[in-house]
Amino acid sequence: MAIKTQPVTVNLGPQHPSTHGVFRLRVMFDGEEIVDVEPVFGYLHRGSEKLAEERTYTQIVTLTDRMDYVSPMLNNQAYMLAVEKLAGIEPTQRGVWLRMIAAELQRIASHLVATGFLLQDLGALGTPLIYAMRERENILDLFEMLCGARITNSYLRPGGVFMDAPTGFWLALDRELVDIVNTLDELEEYLSGNEIVFSRTKGTAVLAPELLINASITGPMLRASGVDWDLRHRNPYDYYDRIEFKRILHTASDNYARYWVRVQEARESVNIIRQCVAQIEPGPVRPSFDDVPRLIRPPKGDAYVAIEGSKGELGFYLVSDGGIAPYRMHVRAPSLINLTLLRDMLIGGLFGDLFVSFGSVDLNMGEVDR
């Protein structure tokens, strides 16, 4: 006898532990199957773009920390590159190397968080998340040595960074790089070949590469579908043209591929940091105040700069009217745009896969809502 079912609409969130922040999904279920999905966001909207119009170019760094709060260093970097392009500032060599090291450490930290929470969503309560977060804490300790803050870094300044690394930093960094590789080995040893992880993530939420490109999706999600698009390689900013690194690609474009790409990219970041440390030389970490004054007044015009953030193409569009504050600032937030295909990922799937697919997007609500 066939059982008659009736579609039920359920609100997941905004206060749900698996929504990675305050995010609401209005989902219509037919039994276990997802029939319709409507994402609702804006709970964390703080009007950062409006706030930026009333702050000087250096003050805005603090706003960028609070956008994607899992990778503030990368936000700082994208914003500073946009300011430098707009104002024509030439950064100092040591400043650039230091911010590249900070950015790559941040990428590892962000990928660790993404991986840890993905496994938490899979039902592996506690252990993998704690392993990942433990290593992230050590990276945050390094940030504390660099700038005194763990999350709200505001480490970068126009033309470089605000302070040189303390002497103890380099030894601590050396040790940490070994630790990161060990943690990644440890995580992979019992996850990358784990039968439960396989059966839950392989073949779920598969997205075609053409569809991903059409929906402007970038970052690890795009590379997990086999598209070789990494802005560090295709449009090198800072000194990425002096670095050799592997581009991590996977062709399956499912939840497993997205998890795998992130773990391997974290490994590759260790390799990049080692090359940065080998090439860094003593010198000023930012231009003198005679070259770059405390109060910048970029000439009239606009500039758009995008970097390879931890989630995808992270871009800043700045418009200057010649004043001390930007006339308009816009953030191209990868977290928001990577959600475009959420309906395609979820509809037709099962309730049990919902949060796994959602977690594999790796979004940050601070960046979605800004």
């Binding site: 966001f41 119009e53 449009n235 745009i337």
Partner: protein, 189 residues
Amino acid sequence: MTTPWSGAALAEAIEAFAPGSTDKSHGGDVWLKPEAAFMVCEGLKSRPEFKFDLLSSVTAVDYIDHFEVVYHLTSLPKNASAVLKIRVGLGRTDAVVPSVVPIWRGADYQEREVWDLMGVRFKGHPNHKRIMLWEGFPGHPLRKDYVTYDQSIVASLAPDDGAYAAGSETAVELGTAGSQPAPGAGAEA
């Protein structure tokens, strides 16, 4: 390195397949006529000389006397980039541009964000709703004449109309509590 199209070269290439669709070009930017924008975008995506398959960013700027919608395009196969701009809403009248969602799905949330915060309409958008703020929110906060909550309180505390009289819970509707002077004289793009 990604090769940016120069404005003049891109305008010429666009004129070759869509005559009379561009307004002007300057630096790296091309200004399109709003009525021709959809057709041009279709050509930029499909034609072999452009192949702009990825729409990086859609945003808008309020220049007091008009709005400017800005598109940043990227071509993965050619590793090239281009900037398109459309001037709409001259004299702050109804600002409408064609939606490019049928061409690039990546425009979906971005156009909704522009509508929500800047008040530019996208004709043909499949789900033309607010995205960050709730339906019924008064005004569009990123407009230069938007009166913020603190400004509305300051205005309500003006000695003439009695202290604390007009303080409202939400942002005051456009223009009701005095207008905010625009910073600077308005940037020329």
